[in-house]
């Protein structure tokens, strides 16, 4: 029998599920191997009987925790997809501000209607079995993770910094170009895609397991950032991971 899979989303842009839809013909191949029983973005049918749950987005409200716990109960395997789900992502930018002020900034005197708490990744609420990092996720890596899970293997996810891939791609270092890059502490696996496109690493795949953050901050400061600015660069994506420490 084909394993049943379901997709769920919380606070996020749904750009990761879009990458799954963007698999195009490969998606048709994948559909030969699994049975999709719930994917609100593309289908009307829904079932709570599934083996693998893919979850996109961060948890940003207390009452969303119940929904997550139910998904955990239903699924044998839970996979977090995309930066919002794996590390809290851009959503955790608001965690550094007063949440009452945040609500007032956006909703004015109706702020009380809008329930929110510090944005967090899925594994801050329920145990997660596998991760597909990135903002957005890389389609090939998604397929790799799915294939590994179907074969009962542990997906092979790099635990070294983006610089390794960036050097291999012979990019000119962002620091040499006067840019501020967090590649030295960010988990690789993206093939340094943003630097290849002429910009820098923003940190969307999160910190490697043992990042040398102090040395990275020193580099940032050496190249002319203030301590405050250096911390801000980290907060763009590492908000939740930093806070946890």
């Amino acid at each position: 029998m084909k394993p049943k899979v379901a997709f769920f989303d919380f606070a996020g842009c749904e750009g990761d599920q879009l990458q799954v839809a963007n698999l195009e013909e490969e998606l048709l191949d994948l559909l030969g191997q699994v049975e999709v029983v719930s994917f609100r973005e593309v289908m009307k049918e829904h079932s709570d009987n599934y083996d693998i749950a893919f979850i996109e987005g961060s948890c940003t409200r207390l009452h969303d925790e119940e929904r997550l716990k139910q998904i955990r109960k239903n699924a044998k395997i839970v996979v977090a997809i995309g930066a919002c789900a794996t590390i809290g992502g851009i959503n955790s930018l608001k965690n550094y501000q007063d949440l009452d002020d945040v609500r007032k900034t956006v909703y004015g005197d109706k702020a009380k209607l809008f329930d929110t708490y510090a944005a967090r990744p899925i594994d801050a609420v329920i145990p997660v079995d596998a991760y597909v990092h990135g903002c957005p996720i890389n389609r090939e890596e998604f397929l790799h993770v799915v294939k590994s899970l179907l074969l009962g293997k542990k997906p092979d996810i790099p635990n070294y910094p983006v610089c390794v891939e960036c050097k291999k791609n012979e990019n000119i270092c962002a620091f040499e170009r006067g840019e501020f890059c967090v590649g030295p502490v960010t988990r690789a696996g993206c093939d340094s895609c943003c630097v290849n496109e002429g910009t820098k690493c923003w940190g969307c795949r999160g910190l490697v397991d043992n990042p040398n953050e102090n040395s990275q901050k020193e580099i940032l400061i050496k190249y002319g950032l203030t301590v405050d600015d250096a911390i801000k660069k980290f907060r763009l994506y590492f908000g939740w991971q930093e806070r946890k420490k």
Partner: protein, 443 residues
């Protein structure tokens, strides 16, 4: 009016659709009819709010487009461009004619991606009477493969111009960090030309299904960018079917956002109780500027301005798909004629940071989008406002629902539910986009 609502004196039914499927984000429909009277009819949003306008405060100008791109995965190119235009307006940054053309191609690529995904994968199942595109893959493999081919082309077009299909990297303040080569653009042009038979096949398929499109009309106001020179997408004044056009910086006098206590997502109104934005609004306002083949496609469906049937928005999307293909070919021809100027690797335009406020108004797949930023003298964002197309449509969707339910009360609750879902889908709502969206609890 009461008479109209009481067509069926004894009619009692409820429609409750929790999380409408095949739309982007979470929205709910609630309808209660008692003794043939529509007592409650609501379209509500239950997406978790994300607070982007607060999150960008305190961040550097060079990051704003990266952050606000994350408002929406599907229209991340549009959000990036609206963001860049706001920052560029605030700091008086100009871009080259070449970059302008490339940005227009980027916007076409997104329009193609988004419209093809919506019409081909999300709307088609309704018209063919199935729950998703998945069964269509085995029952109608040729049609599905045609849509997939076109969608893949749109994605590869984004990759080529923006460096990625979602959350583009190359689009930066002042221009591009990297641009495609003329050889790549020529290749793209050939593929766009070769896609015409596929486009015709999709148009023919939709034409054969057109009788399934509900024949429903409710007069409303349409708002879209408009320009004397082109079918406005990247730039233009704010146009309306009710009033004269005005510059984008005056957007607040058009959008007038408000919060409805019982229903929660921010909404907008201009001259009437609500207005509509999106492909149909653009077509209604800018029909004369459509490319030749696009106009022909509109004629196939007898779609002409001003069309007040919201279900025809999906046909307007098809027309725009054709327009985007043709106009991209024209833009590449123009780039070829002037010769593509090369730029340094890792291009980083010199920006003179200064204090100021700027508005960027861009047409994205679902309608007119505004980003409005204020920066201090160090280029730190002190205030931001984003007005999202879907929020502008919420009020119009609900009023359409209120108008359509009394007309279809003789149908079964299941059919009524499907019609309402189709109505919501016709608007192609992008609820994640609604940065202002709010949660409401129903007992």
């Amino acid at each position: 009016m009461a008479g109209e609502e009481k067509i069926m004196e004894n009619k009692n039914f409820d429609v409750e659709v929790h999380h409408v499927t095949r739309v982007e984000g979470h929205g709910n429909i609630y309808v209660n009819v008692r003794n043939g009277t529509l007592e409650r009819c609501e379209w509500n949003i239950s997406e978790a709010p994300r607070f982007f306008e607060a999150m960008v405060v305190g961040r550097n100008w060079s990051e704003l487009h990266h952050i606000t791109s994350r408002i929406c995965g599907i229209c991340s190119i549009g959000h990036t461009l609206a963001s860049l235009r706001a920052t560029e307006a605030a700091m008086g940054i100009t871009i080259s004619e070449q970059d302008l053309k490339l940005r227009k191609i980027a916007l076409h690529a997104e329009n193609l991606q988004s419209h093809l995904l919506h019409v081909g994968f999300l709307v088609l199942p309704d018209l063919m009477g199935v729950g998703s595109v998945i069964p269509l893959a085995s029952s109608n493999p040729e049609e599905v493969k045609t849509v997939l081919r076109l969608h893949r082309l749109a994605n590869e077009m984004s990759d080529m111009v923006c460096g990625r299909t979602t959350h583009p990297q190359r689009l930066i303040p002042g221009g591009f960090s990297k641009i495609p080569s003329m050889k790549e653009l020529r290749g793209l042009r050939e593929r766009l030309k070769a896609s015409v038979p596929d486009l015709q096949a999709v148009a023919k398929l939709l034409k054969s299904l057109a009788p399934k499109i509900p024949d429903f009309v409710r007069e409303t106001e349409f708002i879209a960018l408009t320009s004397p020179n082109e079918y406005a997408l990247y730039d233009g004044k704010i146009g309306s079917t009710d009033t004269d056009a005005a510059p984008a910086r005056e957007y607040l006098s058009f959008t007038n956002e408000y919060i409805v206590p019982q229903s929660t997502a921010k909404r907008a109104k201009h001259k009437r109780e609500s207005y509509m934005v999106g492909a149909l609004a653009r077509l209604n306002i800018n029909y004369d500027k459509l490319s030749p083949l696009a106009k022909k496609t509109a004629e196939m469906f007898n779609l002409k301005p001003v069309c007040h049937n919201p279900f025809m928005n999906n046909i307007a999307q098809l027309v725009e798909v054709v327009h985007s293909v043709e106009d991209s070919i024209t833009l590449i021809n123009e780039l070829e004629a002037t010769g593509l100027k090369s730029q340094p690797d890792y291009n980083s335009p010199k920006i003179k940071v200064k204090a100021g406020q700027g508005v960027g108004g861009v047409e994205v797949p679902r309608g007119i989008l505004f980003h409005d930023y204020t920066y201090n003298k160090n280029g730190i964002c002190t205030k931001a406002n984003c007005v999202i197309p879907t929020n502008q449509n919420h009020g119009n969707i609900e009023l359409d629902m209120k108008a359509i339910v009394p007309k279809i009360m003789d149908k079964t609750p299941k059919e009524i539910e499907l019609t309402l879902e189709m109505l919501v889908r016709a608007y192609d709502p992008c609820i994640s986009c609604s940065t202002h969206a709010v949660k409401v609890h129903f007992v």
